[in-house]
């Protein structure tokens, strides 16, 4: 009898334990923010809140260092080892969707109706990813520099034209007070180049690829507008306004130390810069003829194609879209919250806040990078082309070669048709 009681007791305990364990289905999530204490804290907070808010799903996190993240995801996709939820850099999303790493994101569309356009990862007409924040670029300078050089302060409604921008650079150079008039950020190789410099090309009227079909770069990257961009870009270095070979240390601190009059930089660098430069101002992008442009799309969340629980993964992502989390990320790491309501909750992006202009730039100037699986190759071809042009290569030949390389890649991948 005693033995029977013990057995039934153990059985009941096992059932109870099993029932509790089965109550919440495990979901795995990968995130690119390892090494960033603030970011990790916020992500963990969202996960803890989500896990406590319902009894169906339990998310567990695995963080990766950003520089190793894409390679890890690609390897895991090959090995069939992707998590349920993963984040991705916006311009990579089409490639990952095309390659079958991620699936369309099934969340309530009304929840993201007021999100900044750059935060929505839409490919082939479907939403694949959504970002809690965006990033934006501005032309950093000092108010005292503008005053000293007698320059008009450009605004979003009335940005500098190409001629005004070049006149500003010339005035800065002629003043003799700076090593270089302009710091485009040449030391930040990699995705910075297409993110930061292709908007100049687009403002000239060109593009990395023909967005009407995404089947060719012919005409977009080597047409008259693109060649005009290339000649202007080369003149920055040839005429001594900028350095093609920048020391990384100068990129980090050159503007702050007064080496440059103007610096092309992102909102993520704004808070530390403001602490050191008291009269820092953030000017909108110059208009080179087709409107002022800046890049868009930062890191976004999506659901892996192999997830056995896409509804749970989507439920978590939808949960994370609350304004309080958008605001927490913004306050924590200086990013632009995806909605105006979240911006109003932040210290820097609330109306009248010191970085509020970035929200406006993101809303009105931002243009996503080409939404095509081929972008991962096109971005590298563009990076090489602008590097070569900056170093004195023939503009037309370089852009023609870049077009050939992009077109060859598109052809090799059968036009990046759906697999």
């Amino acid at each position: 009898m005693k033995h029977a009681l013990l057995t039934s007791g153990a059985l009941m305990a096992a059932l109870a334990w099993g029932g509790a364990a089965a109550a919440q289905t495990d979901l795995t999530m990968w995130y690119h923010g390892a090494g960033n204490e603030v970011e990790s804290k916020i992500v963990h907070q969202i996960i803890d809140d989500f896990n406590a808010s319902q009894s169906d799903w339990k998310v567990s996190l695995q963080s990766f260092p950003q520089a190793a993240y894409n390679d890890s995801v690609t390897a895991a996709a090959l090995a069939g080892n992707l998590p349920d939820i993963l984040d991705m850099d916006g311009p990579n999303m089409p490639n990952w969707a095309w390659a079958g790493y991620i699936q369309p994101l099934n969340i309530d569309q009304s929840k993201i109706a007021n999100f900044l356009p750059g935060t929505k990862g839409i490919y082939d007409g479907k939403l694949y990813s959504i970002g809690l924040w965006d990033a934006a670029i501005a032309l950093y300078t000092r108010q005292s520099t503008l005053d000293m050089l007698g320059l008009r302060t450009p605004t979003l409604d009335h940005p500098w034209s190409k001629d005004e921008f070049m006149a500003a650079l010339k005035a800065a150079k002629d003043s003799g007070k700076f090593d270089y008039a302009f710091d485009p950020g040449m030391a930040w190789t990699g995705e910075w180049y297409p993110y930061a410099f292709s908007p100049f090309l687009q403002s000239f009227g060109g593009d990395i690829v023909d967005r009407s079909t995404y089947m060719t770069a012919e005409g977009a990257l080597n047409g008259p507008d693109a060649i005009a961009f290339g000649e202007w870009w080369q003149s920055l270095f040839k005429d001594g306004y900028a350095s093609a070979n920048q020391d990384p240390a100068d990129r980090d601190s050159g503007f702050i130390n007064g080496k440059y009059a103007f610096s092309w930089n992102g909102n993520w660098a704004a808070v530390p810069a403001m602490e050191k430069v008291k009269d820092l101002v953030f000017l909108p992008a110059p208009d080179f003829g087709h409107g002022p442009k800046i890049g868009a799309a930062s890191w976004q969340f999506g659901v892996s194609a192999t997830s056995a629980h896409p509804d749970g993964a989507a439920a978590f992502i939808q949960f994370a879209l609350q304004d309080k989390y958008l605001a927490a990320f913004s306050d924590g790491i200086g990013l632009i919250p995806a909605t105006t309501t979240a911006a109003a909750m932040t210290k820097n992006y609330a109306p009248g806040g010191s970085l509020a202009v970035f929200f406006d730039y993101s809303a009105q100037e931002a243009m996503v990078r080409p939404v095509t699986p081929g972008y991962v190759v096109e971005s590298k071809v563009f990076e090489k082309a602008v590097t070569d042009i900056a170093n004195g290569a023939d503009v037309t030949d370089t852009l023609d070669a870049a077009v050939d390389e992009i077109n060859a890649d598109i052809e090799k991948n059968n036009g990046y048709q759906k697999q």
Binding site: A34, E37, Q66, A67, L78, A79, N81, A249, W268, A269
Partner: protein
């Protein structure tokens, strides 16, 4: 003449030591730069790079970067993982590769030369070319452990160890060294009735200190610096090695002081291991003509 010789000797020594000192400085300065930079705040570190101050403990000196490095990443765990994976791989590699080489040099079997040639041919195949097939294979291998039979080796120590136990270079080093051992010793042992196992343990290995040190150091460095493979096969933080951990410090604005502190810390096991084996390593280079 009797008065000139000592002078010449003194001059020769002076020149020799001057040249050696200069060479030593060239090799040591990067390490000094790393350690000195690890003691400075970022803004000073970047400013100092343009002068000799970069090599001196001057300015705002502290160990804050070390504390911050430990706060940013589980440094001790990464070092432990690397030392464990590297140590086990080195030991198993020395055993397996020396046994393989022993078989090639001392045993007579059909196809021996062909197999050795194939193994040596693998030296010209870069790891990157086999990384993806190896990944696919590793993700499907069976394993019997605490949880019974499981499939897939990803996220484990074994997936970082097993593929690197045997390699062409280490086998080649042992083969070359064993060939130079006096054949009379082996023959004498055979005449005395020793088995091949006894010859391996009692005759060959006790004479192989230099090649063991060389193979160990080369393997240690290769394993300790592993980046691509662990990046591909380890998604769980608990198994990550030091080189993947280094990426934790490359944020949008890299924390250079913390990077230098981290590098200083992860260099300690390498230096310790090298100093421990350097005498045998140098003896091995002198005797085999292999340059590291």
């Amino acid at each position: 003449m009797a008065r000139i010789d000592p002078d010449n000797r003194g001059l020769r020594l002076t020149v020799r030591y001057t040249v050696l000192t200069l060479i030593a400085i060239i090799f040591v300065f990067p390490l000094i730069f790393m350690v000195m930079s690890s003691l400075k705040p970022d803004h000073q570190l970047l400013t100092d790079t343009s002068s000799l101050r970069a090599f001196l403990p001057v300015g705002d000196i502290s160990v804050n970067n070390y504390f911050d490095a430990f706060k940013r990443a589980p440094v001790a765990m990464f070092v432990f993982n690397s030392v464990l994976v590297t140590g086990v791989t080195v030991l198993l590699s020395l055993l397996v590769c020396s046994l393989t080489a022993f078989s090639f040099v001392f045993l007579r079997w059909r196809g021996r030369d062909l197999v050795l040639a194939i193994i040596l041919a693998t030296l010209i195949v870069p790891f990157e070319t086999i990384a993806i097939p190896l990944l696919l294979l590793s993700s499907k291998l069976p394993w019997i452990g605490l949880h019974g039979l499981t499939w897939g080796w990803l996220n484990s120590y074994r997936v970082q160890i097993v593929p690197f136990i045997a390699d062409g270079l280490t086998i080649f080093l042992f083969v070359q060294y064993f060939k130079d051992l006096p054949g009379e010793l082996i023959e004498a042992a055979r005449v005395e009735g020793a088995s091949w196992g006894q010859i391996y343990r009692r005759v060959v290995m006790p004479l192989s200190g230099p090649v063991l040190a060389t193979a160990a150091i080369l393997k240690f460095l290769a394993m300790y610096n592993q980046y691509l493979w662990p990046l591909m096969v380890v998604q769980e933080e608990g198994y990550r090695p030091v080189m993947v951990g280094l990426q934790y410090f490359f944020q949008l604005n890299p924390a250079w002081g913390e990077i230098m502190a981290y590098l200083s810390l992860i260099t300690i096991p390498v230096l310790t291991f090298y100093l421990f084996l350097q005498r045998a390593f140098i003896a091995s280079i002198a005797s085999t003509g292999v340059k590291g």
